[in-house]
Symmetry: C2
Subunit: 335 residues, 2 copies
């Protein structure tokens, strides 16, 4: 599943402005939820407020946003006893790790790639985004990264950086991480027909208002077919979303209905909406509980911070020993 000698350790993240939605849930968080069961206490989930601040000045309530996200995580089933939840900006060691990685990264690996930043006149921080993500992941010595297929290149980049470090050290000091898409390798499409994302303004928010969510589902395009002709389920966004939220049996049953032309446009949308409210009923219920507002989020984040900073300090020691005591050969670095 991942490179042998290292204990499995998974990491996922959302930016401070993220709204938990069908797309990032099945693209990233669901994998992390599985990781929580598989690798308790070796599963990490953080709020990427440093990444957020690269592109945005913070509003006054950045802290409130971060706290709300932690409550979302808990309502979705994340358990701070098994998943280390933390806030990126609490990790003071992060940029030191990034620098140590910089020392072993040929500049051209990053700078000669044009695909990483779409900004017209990017800041240095925007250009260095993949390197900070590498620090996030390699600093934890994570073996698995739960992100959607749109982030596959960034995870591949993390692997490259791990390769430079291991090459310089002439031993396997950092695990080359792999991306784990939780369920589907395909992009998750949303209302309007584009990839579901906040940028595309077509998300279906898990904790959103019932009527607003209904309107979202109504905006999912369904191919218009003649009477008694079937809608192709494989090409149907509604069916694809339904499949993510249903057991194999239930999905197979609906697929049969599709193929037998028993599903029209309105029904396609109604089935997936119904399944959505079934699948997330518990999470939506939890999120509204009074107990949710009473959770001491700062305490959770402080505890996460302590654990992560300990891990990051270990990584710094590993990298500095390598630099300071010349474990690696000089020739393997760009000098």
């Amino acid at each position: 599943m991942s490179d042998s000698v290292f204990l499995e350790r998974g990491v996922s993240a959302l930016k401070s402005d993220a709204i938990v939605h069908l797309g990032n849930f099945f693209g990233a968080l669901k994998g992390s939820l599985d990781g929580q069961d598989l690798y308790a206490r070796s599963n990490f989930l953080f709020i990427a407020d440093r990444h957020y601040l690269v592109d945005f000045d913070a509003d006054v309530d950045l802290k409130g946003r971060n706290h709300a996200l932690v409550r979302d995580f808990i309502a979705l089933g994340f358990d701070p006893q098994r998943t280390v939840i933390y806030r990126q900006s609490d990790i003071r060691e992060l940029f030191t790790i990034m620098w140590l990685l910089n020392c072993h990264t040929p500049a051209k690996e990053l700078l000669e790639r044009k695909d990483f930043t779409g900004a017209v006149d990017p800041s240095l921080a925007q250009v260095l985004y993949p390197q900070l993500m590498a620090a996030d992941v390699l600093g934890l010595r994570a073996t698995q990264v739960y992100v959607g297929p749109d982030e596959a290149d960034h995870v591949a980049y993390c692997r490259e950086i791990a390769g430079f470090i291991n090459g310089a050290a002439e031993s396997l000091v950092l695990p080359p991480p792999r991306r784990r898409g939780p369920i589907s390798e395909n992009m998750i499409m949303g209302p309007g027909g584009a990839r579901m994302s906040q940028t595309n303004r077509n998300i279906i928010p898990i904790f959103g208002d019932e009527r607003a969510i209904h309107r979202c589902f109504q905006q999912i395009p369904v191919s218009k077919v003649r009477r008694r002709e079937p809608i192709n389920p494989d090409d149907d966004i509604c069916f694809n979303l339904f499949e993510l939220m249903a057991t194999g049996d239930v999905a197979a049953e609906l697929k049969t209905k599709y193929l037998e032309a028993e599903v029209d446009q309105d029904e396609a949308r109604a089935f997936v909406e119904e399944q959505f409210f079934k699948f997330f009923s518990n999470a939506r219920e939890q999120r509204k509980q009074k107990s949710m507002s009473e959770i001491d989020v700062e305490e959770i984040l402080q505890s996460g911070q302590q654990r992560v900073r300990r891990e990051m300090r270990n990584t710094i020691s590993i990298l500095e020993d390598m630099l300071y005591y010349n474990v690696g050969s000089k020739s393997s670095r760009a000098v």
Copy 2:
């Protein structure tokens, strides 16, 4: 002398592999020594071991090298009560400051300049060297940087970065630093006739062996002139070095001798060598004292570290307040 509202604060540095020599003394350290008298406790001098490690794997005795440099500083007259002496790698806040600067630096300011790194296949750390230097300087909110004229571009770059920060904040939060060449605006030339530097292998080491130093002076080129014709003192490396180490009267006296053709090649070299041993006699004497080896260098560095980390944390607060509470306008940043 510098931008008004800020208290004067000076900074200088040498890399861990530096050997204190005539060139870096008069190019940088002499200015810092003057700063010690002018701005006691606001004068900073550090050993740039992070910069050193960008280009070199450390030998096992990096710590010993760093300690020896601190002893050199003290022998030269630096007083830890008035000059804050510290080791760059002790400052854990440094890379966070660098990141916060990155958020406000258009990438092209650094990446489109080809003059900053001469390396063929540079590492990211090598490319980012000027940005780390900006963190060193702006993190301290230094107003003056004591470096030689060869570093003028880097100080100009620091000023630019301060400008971006101040622009984003719409107020003067970081002083734009100025370079102060202590005495001469000219490059200091050495044996063989090239700029005196370790890279050029033509330094005259202040604490070197007497006979080795004699050989260095013997290698300074002096223009061959006919009998009874004067050597031009202004073009003469020996006289230029002599001037750095002599009072105005003494230098004027020798200049007259030059102009009256009373100085031949051998004498030119002999005069400057004699002046060297006179000028540095006290420092060289101090450096050999038993008391020097008894100095608790770590204690000095720890005390320096505490002071500098306090300053850097203040700078982080200033920069984070700016980012977090939207003091600056979004439009002034490259997004």
